[in-house]
Symmetry: C2
Subunit: 215 residues, 2 copies
């Protein structure tokens, strides 16, 4: 009887230890939020609003910012299943349609990423004053970029992503105002004028994951 | 009677509007935590552990890191009331004592800082997945440095501080694992060997606030 008790205690201790180890998590399938992207050597800073649907494999990104002295604006809808993306201009009521030769990669910690640290942003001394996050590092197999990803422990929400491309520099994306869900599913439907004569078709495939797609 | 009711509603609406406006907050008087400091142009990265006592006006900072190829280590105790600081080396059992010609500035949002944004790090869609923070910007009157400070909305806990000194660059400090309180008050007491013959006395005053003291 005593042996069974000891075994139970050891087993439950082992299981709880396993449960507490941070795991390579995947973000919720519907997500929308904002991000600030800092380009290498502070050359430009871009604010983006994005909408992410991992079930239908669609991403919409609207970016505004400055590149040196120039204003930057981009409104892009990526439809991975249809292997196509649209650059939309409501101002001109025109569209650029291009092929998208990439498989959809969900927002997640890559399986070969190495867990570096679990930290609290702010403090857990009082409620709503801190956030438990994990930091993971690794090298992207395709692009050879070194990355550092910081996601929340609960919910697997991205907080910070850093990609370093050799000879180019650091791309730092800070995520904020994230909402689980999609407020308006119409953001994934190309506007009517994308099917009219104003459509320009391109053929340039590019391989992307979520974090490089938003750069 | 109706007029009183209307007045009450107006007053409570006004008060709640005032209460919701982010205010120039001050951090709790006892605080300990860690920070990562990124020096200009990524030249060096330093990890620090700090202890902060705003009532007795004392700060202890232990820093380890790299400056280029060199390892950096610093263990400094700043006693603002006594107008003195100690650089402590447990390895050599030696101490450097120097005068500290500065008034203590508590960790707080300066009164002339401008509120830039309130954002959620992560998401408020589920509990413990997000953190409400405020970002403030301004120019330090003494050093003329432009700064950006991000503190939690609840509890006024520092999350990120950025100081930009003209001709030098950005100093970015990320705070984490913050605890309200002091685990061991002995961190503010200089070790015995700081009062022995191994003490070296310096006389170089410098003006500091918390964020520049930890650089």
């Amino acid at each position: 009887m005593e042996a069974v008790l000891v075994l139970t205690i050891i087993m439950s201790a082992l299981l709880s230890a396993l449960a507490q180890k941070p795991h390579h998590c995947k973000s919720p399938p519907y997500l929308q939020g904002k991000l600030a992207v800092d380009f290498p050597e502070g050359k430009s800073m871009v604010y983006e609003k994005f909408y992410y649907d991992a079930l239908e494999e669609r991403i919409r990104v609207v970016a505004v910012g400055k590149e040196g002295e120039h204003d930057v604006f981009m409104d892009r809808l990526l439809l991975f299943r249809e292997k196509v993306y649209f650059d939309i201009s409501y101002h001109n009521k025109s569209c650029i349609k291009a092929s998208l030769d990439a498989t959809f990669t969900p927002i997640a910690i890559p399986l070969d990423a190495r867990h570096r640290a679990q930290v609290v942003l702010g403090s857990l001394s009082s409620p709503a004053q801190g956030l438990l996050v994990n930091n993971w590092v690794g090298t992207d197999a395709k692009t050879k970029a070194n990355y550092s990803l910081t996601f929340t422990e609960l919910g697997c929400i991205p907080i910070l992503s850093m990609y370093h491309f050799d000879g180019v520099g650091h791309f730092l994306s800070s995520f904020f105002d994230m909402v689980i869900g999609i407020e308006d599913p119409m953001v994934f439907v190309p506007p009517d004028f994308c099917f009219s004569k104003n459509l320009v078709e391109w053929k340039d495939g590019k391989a992307v994951n979520f974090f490089t797609a938003i750069l």
